[in-house]
């Protein structure tokens, strides 16, 4: 028995300006191809084509490659859409594939399918298992980080109202003999409207970017005077942090929103870490520590003239959670007349640059994008993708809520409305975890006095 659903994902780790690939795999992709490019492309030929959204408007243009089953990576029909690699465009393209009938692939799912369809050697089973495991853990970690702050609060509020509504509707369906008068029909409609409004709110702020940024924090730490504030100003593009040659200039964490290739981030400048008796500085350092707790990526800034990681830095580094990515930035290379470069030491990324002259800043941006916002070279999903997953789930839930509202307006049969609400909740459960029928019944029994 085969899988019949269609999966899609962004397949390339995109740097700046390059091309990005959205890969789609499924048993039969002809209908999907029709929708996205308007025709079924010739097999194994590169074709230049426009990519269309669900209204038929072109969102991008690029190369299409079509590999019909079984001669493809997964053994199913595979469609590769190569567009302009910017994350924003790639996401749009991915969304189009999803509204055309695909669903977002689970981490490692392409490889899984390739394996299940005998495209990979049996001996590779172990590595397939490893890929699934590694990418799942990475995705789970990112999903956790994505679910922070405002975003999480908004989602949980939404789920709660939805659950309450479902509880009432299901109680009415399963316990018609109870006199409790669980609800007024009119109530359902107004509650639905409230839920929809909330959902719209979340989606709107997501579109404006603020939500995507929520939870994605790049924190600059390091010894006093190594050039953190200078680097911050560079990244932001304006002077938001005071720069002096006096160590201990920055006392309070400064937070600023930036965008790299359409991906919004927060950059946070902190007080330099060192032993001090100055009361104000002490507070600043304490804040640095608490800021680090919320970080998704730490940039440890060092003066490249000095000898690497200082003892105080070491203490901080050791206290970081193991999975939190850290990039070592060796600043002030202009004073050494060195070139900007990236090296990897024991799996850790080291970037040499000059914040003052701007040399190497492009490199840093690319790496930031890779680690925090986008797919990393190892094929793992970044937080941005995790958040994107969440937003897709919201969109899906929203569609079911729209249906539910239409049904409520028509005062049609309650069981259909209940079905839409169930589907809406199921969409959200990819964010909030499983909510079983038994959980729902539990809510009903603890809220209403039911039973004879």
């Amino acid at each position: 028995m085969e899988n019949t659903d269609i999966i899609a994902a962004i397949a390339t780790p995109t740097g700046r300006g390059g091309i990005g690939v959205v890969r789609v795999s499924g048993k039969n992709l002809q209908t999907l191809a029709q929708r996205i490019i308007g025709y079924v492309p010739q097999a194994r030929h590169a074709t230049l084509s426009k990519f269309l959204d669900k209204n038929g408007c072109a969102i991008d243009q690029g190369i299409v490659l079509y590999f019909p089953s079984p001669h493809s990576y997964t053994g199913e029909d595979v469609l590769e859409l190569q567009g302009h690699g910017g994350p924003a465009v790639m996401n749009l393209l991915l969304s189009c594939c999803i509204s055309a009938g695909a669903r977002l692939a689970q981490p490692g799912e392409f490889t899984l399918r390739a394996f299940l369809n005998s495209k990979l050697d049996l001996a590779q089973a172990e590595s397939v298992a490893d890929i699934i495991e590694a990418s799942t853990t990475a995705a789970a970690r990112c999903a956790m980080r994505s679910l922070q702050g405002e975003f999480s609060a908004a989602i949980h509020m939404l789920v709660q109202v939805l659950t309450n509504l479902r509880m009432v509707v299901e109680a009415v369906l399963d316990f018609p003999e109870e006199e409790t008068g669980f609800f007024q029909e009119a109530d359902v409609y107004s509650q639905l409207k409230t839920i929809q409004a909330r959902l719209e709110c979340v989606r709107l702020s997501a579109r404006q970017g603020s939500l995507l940024r929520e939870g994605m924090h790049v924190v600059l730490v390091g010894q006093p005077n190594v050039g953190k504030s200078t680097l911050m100003n560079r990244l932001v593009g304006q002077d938001v942090s005071i720069v002096t040659e006096i160590p201990g200039t920055t006392r309070d964490a400064i937070r600023q929103a930036i965008e790299i290739e359409g991906i919004p981030l927060y950059v946070i400048d902190t007080a330099g870490l060192h032993e001090t008796d100055d009361a104000v500085e002490k507070i600043g350092i304490a804040r640095t520590r608490s800021t680090i707790e919320k970080a998704d990526l730490v940039l440890l800034v060092m003066d490249s003239r000095l000898d690497g990681v200082a003892p105080m830095d070491r203490i901080i580094l050791d206290s970081l959670p193991a999975e939190l990515p850290v990039i070592h930035v060796h600043n002030k290379i202009d004073l050494l007349d060195e070139f900007s470069r990236v090296t990897k030491k024991e799996d850790r990324m080291e970037i040499y640059l000059s914040a003052k002259t701007g040399v190497g800043m492009e490199l840093l941006r690319t790496k930031l994008l890779e680690v925090v916002g986008w797919q990393s070279t190892s094929g793992e999903e970044g937080i941005f993708m995790a958040r994107h997953r969440h937003l897709l789930a919201l969109t899906e839930a929203g569609a079911h809520l729209d249906n539910a509202t239409r049904l409520a307006e028509r005062a049609s049969q309650l069981e259909l409305l209940a079905e839409e609400l169930r589907l809406a909740q199921r969409s959200l459960s990819s964010i909030t975890g499983e909510f079983s029928a038994d959980d729902l019944l539990g809510r009903i029994f603890s809220s209403f006095c039911i039973g004879k």
């Binding site: 085969e2 069981e415 079905e419 019944l441 006095c449 039973g451």
Partner: protein, 643 residues
């Protein structure tokens, strides 16, 4: 003494599970023995005299579609019939009947006695006979030994049953019946994972002492509903109404006054009771702000004055029971004929079952009904039927039949039990079924009768009736697809007045009758009044089917797509003797859960709580590779050798 005859299937217990099991196995041609404490209590309703209701009615229709007895017996015994949820949509619509206890028992008994291949014998079973890990028969109280290749155990609330009234307790299977102590002990010795559950029942009242004048009357629906697909309203005996009254503040005070002698609140009862069927003391304590609870007074039959007060199940001491009953409006002078009580009993963790209801531990031993942690006649009957079928199949060396969640409530019931276990007595609700829209009462026959025919539980008469109905439905659907109306300018246009009357607007493009029927506000009956719509069908069941299928087409298609997407999980078997700790990549939590459940398919595994999609992906990888070839050498040709 060894009984001279051998049987294919032995069913232990003559309750709702046992009788359906025995009937099903015998219908399938297997030589079947039904062993029960007492032939007089075959088909006895231990608690309230009613069959059906939301979710339960669905199960009854499924049992009927598979040739079972429950619906037909209810048609012969029902003294009040109603359709619940009639305005809320066909999927949640359910039939409920108040049954005359005596008539119901007789209806079941008659079927048992007249069933070819079925033998009845009155004896308590005290022990099971095993050969290694296979069942070979049973031993009764008198030491009689009966041999069979398959045994279905349906002992209900009888295993180590302990009844409570106040702080007094006594051993019983239910009031008036002895418990099964030796068998319970033996089963525990066999290391089958057991637990204790609890349920309760209200005191019964002499109807002559009830003042109905101040109560609300509730009569049967008109037209009179019918349970069985082969039944008709003419089979129903005389109808009687139910009555509705309420508890009040003083009732609740009386209850509070007795809590110190409540076995429930003083910790005497260990078993867990159902949350949705709480005792009145439970309701009063947990929902203390509620000043009144509804009570249905249900007649126990045509030939008795006894009345069942539905809503005041209790295990309070008897003196409190009298006072609380008499505090209720209309019951001031009530005479109690039987005290209410709670009962605790052994059940077996259903996670120890395959989805055929065969125990994983002992080959050929099947469990059905209350012993699996469920409650309710309908839940018991449905499991009994399934266990009977699978016991028969086993003795015919045929594969088990395991209905899927999208096929039947029966599938939902069994799958829930075996993948999630129970923490309280399990009752069916429609909200448990994710494919609710297609698991309707009205199409239970369309879903199951053909399967039942193949299995051998559906007889020719039922098959013929079903076949005729199904053909009529298809015929009418084809006709509706073939009749077209066009816009006003076309030759096949509708007169405007008719269009407005039936459709609410004129037709703008060519539309078949079937398309029109799909619109939400257009009924089949109304549609057939259009000039040119033709005659339509007369059989209301056919018309209903055509209409519902048209209206729900979009939803059903969506559910079907989803089912198709998940089908490959259900089709991926997992070995039963696998130690999951040897599988790489699984979290230790997943390993532990999988070892505990030993799911039969990847689909079942996915429904175990806490098992993630990634775990399932890993299981698929291991399945493809062949679970036990872990240490084997590399396979050189690329992959296709995988099982």
């Amino acid at each position: 003494m060894i009984f001279s005859e051998n049987f294919d299937v032995i069913v232990v217990g003559g309750g709702h599970a046992g009788t359906e099991a025995a009937l099903a196995a015998a219908r399938m041609g297997q030589k079947t023995l039904l062993l029960s404490h007492n032939i007089e209590t075959l088909g006895q309703m231990s608690c309230n005299p009613s069959i059906g209701g939301i979710g339960k009615g669905h199960l009854v229709k499924e049992v009927d579609a598979l040739g079972g007895a429950m619906a037909a017996a209810a048609d012969e015994a029902g003294i009040q019939f109603r359709i619940l949820n009639s305005s809320k949509g066909p999927a949640v619509r359910a039939t409920r009947a108040q049954a005359d206890r005596v008539l119901y028992r007789q209806a079941i008994r008659r079927r048992l006695e007249n069933q070819p291949n079925l033998w009845l014998f009155q004896q308590a079973v005290d022990d099971l006979m095993l050969d290694g890990e296979s069942i070979t028969g049973v031993v009764t109280q008198l030491g009689l030994k009966f041999s069979a290749r398959a045994v279905v155990l349906t002992a209900g609330t009888f295993l180590a049953g302990l009844a409570h009234v106040g702080l007094a307790s006594f051993q019983a299977g239910r009031a008036g019946d002895p418990p099964s102590m030796s068998l319970a002990l033996r089963l525990r010795e066999m290391q089958l994972p057991a637990g204790r559950l609890k349920t309760g029942t209200p005191p019964r009242i002499d109807g002559r002492s009830i003042d109905y004048s101040a109560m609300m009357e509730q009569s049967s629906d008109t037209p009179l509903p019918v349970f069985s697909f082969l039944g008709n309203a003419a089979q129903h005996p005389r109808q009687m109404p139910c009555w509705i009254t309420h508890t009040n503040v003083s009732t609740h005070e009386i209850i509070h006054g007795g809590l110190d002698r409540s076995p429930l609140f003083s910790g005497v009862i260990e078993g867990v009771g159902p949350r949705y069927c709480p005792s009145i003391e439970d309701k009063v304590v947990r929902f203390s702000t509620k000043e009144s609870h509804q009570i249905f007074l249900e007649p126990e039959g045509l030939t008795t004055h006894e009345v069942y007060p539905n809503g005041i199940s209790t295990s309070l001491p008897f003196d409190i029971q009298i006072k609380l009953v008499r505090s209720i409006k209309g019951l001031e002078k009530a005479h109690i004929t039987r005290p209410g009580y709670a009962i605790e009993y052994d059940y077996f963790d259903p996670r120890g079952l395959k989805n055929s209801l065969e125990t994983k531990a002992i080959r050929g031993l099947f469990f059905a009904g209350q012993v699996n942690g469920t409650t309710g006649y309908e839940e018991a009957a449905a499991q009994g039927l399934l266990a009977g079928i699978n016991a028969a199949l086993k003795t015919q060396d045929r594969d088990a039949w395991c209905p899927r969640r999208d096929e039947a409530y029966l599938g939902v019931l069994v799958d829930d039990l075996i993948t999630r276990g129970v923490t309280e007595p399990y009752r069916m609700f429609t909200s448990r079924a994710e494919y609710r829209l297609q698991l309707r009462e009205d199409n239970a026959d369309l879903r199951l009768t053909e399967i039942g025919h193949r299995l051998g539980v559906v007889d020719d008469a039922r098959w013929a009736a079903f076949d005729a109905k199904q053909q009529a439905v298809v015929h009418e659907q084809n006709r509706l697809h073939a009749v077209w109306f066009g816009p006003s300018t076309s030759s096949n246009s509708l007169p405007e007045t008719d269009a407005l009357r039936v459709l609410g607007k004129t037709i703008e493009r060519d539309c078949s009758l079937h398309e029109l029927l799909r619109r939400p506000d257009i009924s089949y009956a109304n549609l057939m009044t259009l000039p040119g719509a033709g005659k339509g069908v007369i059989d209301p069941l056919v018309a209903e089917q055509v209409e519902i299928q048209a209206k729900y087409q979009g939803y059903i298609k969506r559910q079907k797509d989803e089912i198709a997407r998940n089908a490959h999980y259900e089709a991926t078997p997992l070995p039963q003797d696998l130690d999951y700790t040897t599988l790489g990549g699984l979290s230790s939590e997943a390993q532990q859960k999988l070892n505990q459940h030993k799911p039969e398919t990847a689909g079942q595994a996915a429904r175990i709580s806490g098992i993630t999609p990634a775990t399932i992906s890993l299981l698929l990888v291991h399945a493809k590779r062949g679970f036990f070839s872990q240490k084997k050498k590399k396979v050189n040709e690329s992959g296709d050798t995988a099982r």
